[in-house]
């Protein structure tokens, strides 16, 4: 269960990048960076559509690190596109949780996945579910140890809690400003709790 911390799942994918130049005469790693730079310029991240994602990143790994003499030099024959994500695994078993998440990537952001991964070796496209999942699973590296400060909470629970925190804070400040009687305070609070969905209307 090293891919998990609480209900959260840590996915690590390393996809080899095609070595030759693309049709424009651009190196594929440069083309990937261009695509990712275009995503950075968007007002809203496409990963918002993959709603169970807490945090995710893409990193192009150009070359192995080198720590100076007497360490040996490792030269990577391929460049790699690293994708990591912390997402909600919920109560599903690991395989189902992972397959469901890959399916979300395929169906919610197919355009992004297609543009970025078309520069990677063996990418089959996003049209076939099984071929896509098989490709991603071949790129998967098992996580050795995952740690999360709130691994028990789903993305939706975190969003709802942050929203509730904000509205309750506003409510408390408003009550301080109006100095209500106990009756008014209780009535206002019950109204707040009903609006927040904590009490059935």
């Amino acid at each position: 269960m090293s891919d998990r911390f609480g209900q959260a799942y840590g996915l690590t994918l390393m996809s080899p990048i095609t070595g030759e130049l693309d049709v424009d005469g651009t190196a594929h790693d440069v083309a990937i960076r261009r695509e990712l730079r275009a995503l950075n310029a968007l007002a809203e991240s496409p990963l918002v559509r993959v709603a169970t994602t807490h945090l995710a990143r893409w990193v192009v790994i150009d070359e192995a690190p080198y720590e100076s003499e007497p360490a040996k030099v490792d030269h990577l024959e391929s460049k790699y596109l690293l994708f990591t994500s912390n997402f909600d695994g919920g109560t599903l078993d690991d395989a189902t949780a992972l397959n469901d998440y890959l399916e979300l990537l395929r169906t919610q952001i197919p355009d992004v996945i297609q543009r970025v991964y078309s520069h990677c070796v063996g990418f089959p496209g996003t049209s076939g579910r099984i071929a896509f999942q098989s490709y991603m699973l071949r790129c998967r590296i098992p996580t050795t140890f995952l740690f999360g400060a709130y691994g028990q909470a789903t993305q939706e629970q975190v969003q709802q809690s942050l929203g509730l925190q904000r509205t309750l804070s506003d409510f408390v400040l408003a009550q301080q400003a109006t100095r209500p009687t106990p009756d008014d305070l209780k009535q206002s609070f019950l109204q707040f709790a009903t609006t927040a969905g904590l009490i059935a209307p």
């Binding site: 080899p16 730079r37 893409w58 106990p182």
Partner: protein, 308 residues
């Protein structure tokens, strides 16, 4: 161009270090112990007992081989079977289980901090107290495990296994590394001592240089809550729990009792109140001039103050 290592308040650190393949086993053992330290105390005690009993079984067998009358394993098996190879294995099983059960009972009441698991438990607790980490992960990539997806893709010929470290944290890079080094120096060293030319987490300067050398910039970074720090999220989750309980217990109280309960509730949760916006880093958080949420509300018209 936006800074890709940042998403709102959250910084993405990605680092790769290299390990001679044999040393990777040491690191895997460290992570196995960390995972074990996260188990309930009874499970930790049981496994510790089994490990101790395995060591004692080896010592007893060595002494027996030297001609000393120390064949305790066979004697334990002889309770059930005539002396034989099968009896020896039965004896060994009894030996391991007995120590394991005693370990589980002891572990239920007492987890010594001087033991390996006790020390790792402290490191784990300190890691949790590094309250600015959202998620972190370590991934061991053996030198033969880099994905090769086509015959046309050249095969890697690497000297070392790799350790990828990824962290998502609030705040400045140097302060983060510094705090990591101060709070969990033993934990850091146990994880990275297997890596090539790791300088140790103290003093901090060579350590910072080492991390800089093996860090990769993020090309695209996404956080679902760029405006929220780890503490914002933890306090919001705690506040939701407290608020749900408060609503369940106070909704039917008479107004005066409700007001007093409300004030007690505010006193409990005032450190959890904040106006963090999940989608923006620019709105206020508890660190940026927040208003003070008073736990006592003057009750207008009654001339009274509802005391906590």
């Amino acid at each position: 161009m936006p800074l890709s290592n940042l998403s709102g308040k959250t910084y993405a650190l990605t680092a790769f270090t290299r390990m001679p393949p044999l040393k990777t086993f040491g690191l895997r053992l460290v992570f196995a112990l960390i995972r074990l330290s996260l188990q309930p105390p009874e499970v930790r005690g049981f496994i510790s007992g089994v490990i101790i009993s395995a060591v004692t079984a080896i010592v007893l067998q060595l002494l027996h081989a030297l001609g000393l009358p120390m064949d305790a394993i066979m004697r334990e098996g002889a309770w059930l079977l005539a002396p034989s190879a099968a009896a020896w294995f039965v004896g060994l099983t009894i030996h391991l289980l007995a120590f394991g059960i005693v370990g589980a009972i002891v572990g239920h009441f007492y987890q010594p901090t001087w033991s390996i698991l006790g020390r790792i438990g402290i490191i784990q607790k300190n890691l949790v107290e590094l309250s600015f980490i959202h998620f972190a992960r370590w991934v061991i990539i053996p030198r033969t495990a880099f994905p090769r997806l086509a015959e046309s893709q050249p095969q890697e010929h690497l000297h070392y296994d790799y350790l990828m470290f990824e962290s998502n944290f609030n705040g400045a890079w140097e302060k983060y590394i510094d705090a990591f080094s101060q709070v969990v120096p033993g934990g850091m060293d146990n994880i990275w001592r297997w890596s090539v030319k790791y300088p140790g987490s103290r003093p901090i300067s060579p350590f910072l240089a080492y991390i800089r050398n093996c860090q990769y910039d993020t090309d695209y970074y996404y956080s679902a809550y760029p405006g929220a720090s780890t503490n914002d999220i933890r306090s919001a989750l705690q506040l939701t729990d407290e608020l749900t309980k408060f609503v369940a217990t106070s909704a039917t109280l008479p107004a005066a009792d409700f007001a007093r309960a409300y004030n007690r509730f505010l006193a409990r949760v005032q450190n959890c109140l904040s106006k963090t916006a999940p989608g923006s880093a620019s709105l206020s958080s508890p660190m940026s001039g927040m208003p003070i949420y008073e736990p006592i509300v003057p009750l207008a018209g009654t001339g009274q103050v509802a005391h906590v």
